[in-house]
Each structure stands twice: as C-alpha cells, then as structure tokens.
Amino acid sequence: MTRYFTTDHEWIEVEGTSATVGITDHAQEQLGDIVFVEVPAAGTAVAKGKEAAVVESVKAASDVYSPITGEVTEGNAALEDDPALVNTAAETDGWFFKATIADTSELAGLMNAEAYATFCADLD
C-alpha cells in the first residue's frame, strides 16, 4: 500500500487499482471543529481534481476534491453520525470514500508523505 498527498490536502491510499481517500490531519486542524460531512454514494463517478465530497466546520463549508478519476465503491457511513471523527482520526477512521482508480498514471503528480510535510511547512 502506498499513500500519496495532494496540494489540496487530501490523502489517497492505493492498493492496486483501489483507493481510500480522506483529508489530511493538517486540513482538519485548519478547518477546526467539523460538524457535517457529505460523502459520495457508491456508484458515483469522481474525476481527478473535481469536487467529490463536502466538509463543514462550524464556520464554513469546504469542497473535497478527488485525487483520481474513478468510481466510488463506498462512502464512510460513520461520518454521518460522527463527523468529528475527521478531527480525531483524519488519516485513519475518518476516511471519506473508497473508489476504483481508472488510470493509475494519475498518481504520478502526487506527493509522498515527506514531500507533503515540506509542502505544509512552507505554507506557515
């Protein structure tokens, strides 16, 4: 399994042509208290760089973009009752959706953990 990161602060864990997508710990920290998450239903087509989910903090709504093109196989139902899971476990139990990857070459431009850490450090 390999984990990649986007400049929009999503993470994607890849195993073959399957992926799990969420937002990073840095992103949840910036958003603050999360009160609502809208994840895509199974069967939804997602496209790289396009809105796939919505996360709402007390203060604002933010779009979450899909790092890859593919089809959603599962949205994280746990977030419906417990959106704060994204605050407490952004990069584990607080995942947003699982999807198939249509074209693994789309992963080429993404960052690894080290590059993402450097990217975040440069933002401060």
């Binding site: 603050g32 208290d33 009160v35 609502f36 709402e56 007390v58």
Partner: protein, 378 residues
C-alpha cells in the same frame, strides 16, 4: 497579472492594540473589517461552550467608538436614528439603527447618553468610516463628532462575567443593570463599562485606552474563569441568540420592519416620525412588510449557509442570511428573509443546499434564551 493589478495589491490589514497579545495566546488571525483579528484560539466549539458556561474575553476594538456632542445633539441624532433619545436617561444605553433617507439600514449601533447634549455611539467596524461621513454630513455645525480610535474595546461575556468584573471593579455588578454604562478608574486607566454584548449572555463591553488594553486583558485573563474567544464563537453565539449581523441579516437595502427590528423604533417616534426613512418605514409598520427576517430550524446535520435559497415547494420564497451549526443545540440553525405570508412560527419550508432540499421550520428567535440581568447584580 497586469502591472495595474499588481499595483492594486490589497492593503495590509491594520493591527489591533492587542495584536501581539492574541498571537501569544495562540489566536489564529484572519482579516475582518480591515483588521487582523483572532478567529479562534483553542477552537470555536470550546470557546462557544466556555462563553455559555463561564466567561470569555473578546477583542472588539475594530468597532467604531464615537462621541456626538453639542447643543441639540439629541434632536439632531433623532433625525437619523428612530430611538426616543429625549427619554433616554444619562448612562442608559439603547440599541438603535442608523437609517438612510430611503429607509434602508446603514448600520446598527448602541447609543448611550453621556450628558445633556452628548452621546456615545458604538458602531460596526466594517461600516464605521461610512457612518462617520454620513453623520458628519447630516449633523448641524454646532454638533461635533469625535472618533475615538485611541480606545480599544474589550467584551467580557458569559454567566460569570459579572462576578469576574466585580472582583476587578468592586460594586460594578450591582451598579449596572443590562444596557447601562458607567465610568470607572482601574489600573490607572479610565474605563467606560457598558453592560451589553453580542452573545445573548450577561456581560460587559469595556472601552479602555489602547495603551492600557494589554494590562486590562491580562488582569481579566488572570481570573481562571476567563478564557479568550475569537470571531468564530462570537458569530455562532450571536446566531443562537437571534442577533442580526450587519451586512448579512440587514443591509442598506433592507428596512427595519423587514429586518424584524421594529422594536428599535420607539413609540413616540412611531407617532411623530421625523427620522430618515420615516415616509417608507411608518407605512410598513402599519401595514406590514412584504418579507421578514425569521429563524429557521433545520432538520438533519447539514448546515445551510448565507445565500442558500429558501423554497416553499417549487417556489423561491426567500434567502438564508446567516446560518451554521449551533454548538449549544447540536444542530444547524439559520436566519433568513422570507415572504411575510410564510413567516409564522411553525411554517414548513425547504432550503436548497447544493441541490438537496433540507426541511426547515420557521422558529422563534432567539434559538437559545437570553441571559441578561435587567436588574443588575452578579
């Protein structure tokens, strides 16, 4: 980017007297009303809950503190505000509206009588320069306006605010009922204390010379019942309290009746008129306005934000003007303007959020009861 666009780079936000203090306390700074201001310290939810159960310190120094004084100041101000200033006693404070000639709301404000011919006004930060220009243009020559940009303003809000402040200024809690003001000396500074706020809780807004603001903030925070709170909690608190926000729930194109702020038009002024926009506003008072600001309780968890369309079936009947998650109630709440015929409590409506129709019910305001101390005391 063209050169012209480069030249027009945004002006740096102004710094509040407590700027370094906020950063030291972990405040996350954002630009608001032209100032760098803390949106949160430890988190909006925690700050919100602390304000509802203990006491929070908010820096509201971006607001405009004005003095209007001179022969006939009260009568001159009554031409622009619908308050009965003639009946306002010294050291008493009223909520009022600065009105345009067409009846639109230019700002909302607190006004305190400080003398026979002098008044203190506290106006919104984002509108203060326009307010000052409008007031100066419309006040007679013998009535002068002073803008106290040398003063900071600190709000202490919450059920324990009175006990906290009374330890610092003995007797203040007994001396001041809700919407009353007093001057006090403390820490070699001259303070103006008003029992008022924007959270629905008991509390005080304290004007302090800018160079003494850190000293006052430190003295308040030394009390373990007090924590700092930012703009985020201020917004969720005022929304629960049903308090409208200028530029959102009311604007220059909304009259006081539609904004459900008719209570700010005093009885004598309704009878006599004589204020800006009276020709428009008085008939609306008598006959009702075509739309009205209401509270909206939303089903489910998804918040409806400002700008979301309010529907009755397939028909567009209004717009959300403020909305978000209520930390106290644990569910989404909003305020919006809807057609008058659909403004009754209990009316079932829908709000379009990203193409999905959320069920909403017109709810009485405030969502969370006010906790004001009208008789004074702790």
């Amino acid at each position: 980017m063209t050169e012209a666009a480069t030249m027009e780079a945004k002006a740096e936000p102004l710094l509040l007297p407590l700027d370094s203090w906020h950063r030291e306390k972990g405040g996350r700074m954002v630009e608001f009303a032209g100032y760098a201001m803390p949106i949160q310290y430890e988190g909006i939810m925690a700050e919100h809950e602390w304000t509802r159960t203990s006491a929070s310190l908010f820096d509201v120094s971006h607001m405009g503190q004005l003095t209007v004084a001179g022969p006939g100041a009260g009568a001159a101000l009554e031409k622009l505000l619908p308050a009965d200033l003639g009946a306002l006693k010294e050291c008493r404070t009223r909520y009022s509206l600065l009105l345009a000639q067409d009846g639109g709301i230019l700002d909302d404000l607190l006004i305190t009588r400080t003398g026979e011919d002098s008044f203190r006004l506290v106006v919104n930060g984002a509108t203060k320069h326009d307010d000052i220009a409008y007031l100066r243009a419309n006040l007679p020559e013998e009535v002068t306006l002073a803008y106290h940009d040398e003063m900071a303003l600190i709000a202490l809000q919450g059920p324990l605010a009175a006990s906290v402040l009374d330890d610092l200024l003995p007797g203040i809690a007994e001396a001041l009922p809700f919407m009353a003001s007093a001057s006090r000396g403390c820490a070699d500074a001259h303070l103006i204390v008003c029992r008022s706020g924007y959270t629905g809780e008991d509390g005080f807004e304290i004007a302090v010379p800018s160079d003494k603001a850190v000293k006052l903030a430190d003295a308040l925070l030394a009390d373990e019942r007090v924590k700092p709170a930012g703009l985020g909690a201020r917004d969720s608190l005022r929304l629960e309290a049903g308090l409208p926000l200028y530029g959102h729930d009311m604007t220059a194109s909304i009259d006081p009746v539609s904004a459900d702020l008719a209570f700010a038009i005093s009885k004598r002024r309704r009878e006599q008129g004589g204020f800006a926009g009276a020709e428009t506003i008085l008939p609306l008072l008598a006959e009702g306005a075509p739309s009205k600001r209401v509270g909206l309780a939303i089903e489910g968890r998804a918040p409806a934000r400002e700008g979301a369309t309010i529907m009755a079936g397939e028909r567009v009947v209004g717009v959300v003007t403020s909305g978000g998650h209520s930390p106290t109630l644990g569910r989404p709440i909003a305020m919006g303007h809807v057609e008058a015929g659909l403004a009754a409590t209990g009316t079932e409506l829908q709000i379009d959020v990203r193409g999905r129709k959320l069920s909403a019910t017109v709810a009485p305001l405030p969502f969370v009861p006010h906790n004001y101390r009208r008789q004074g005391g702790k």
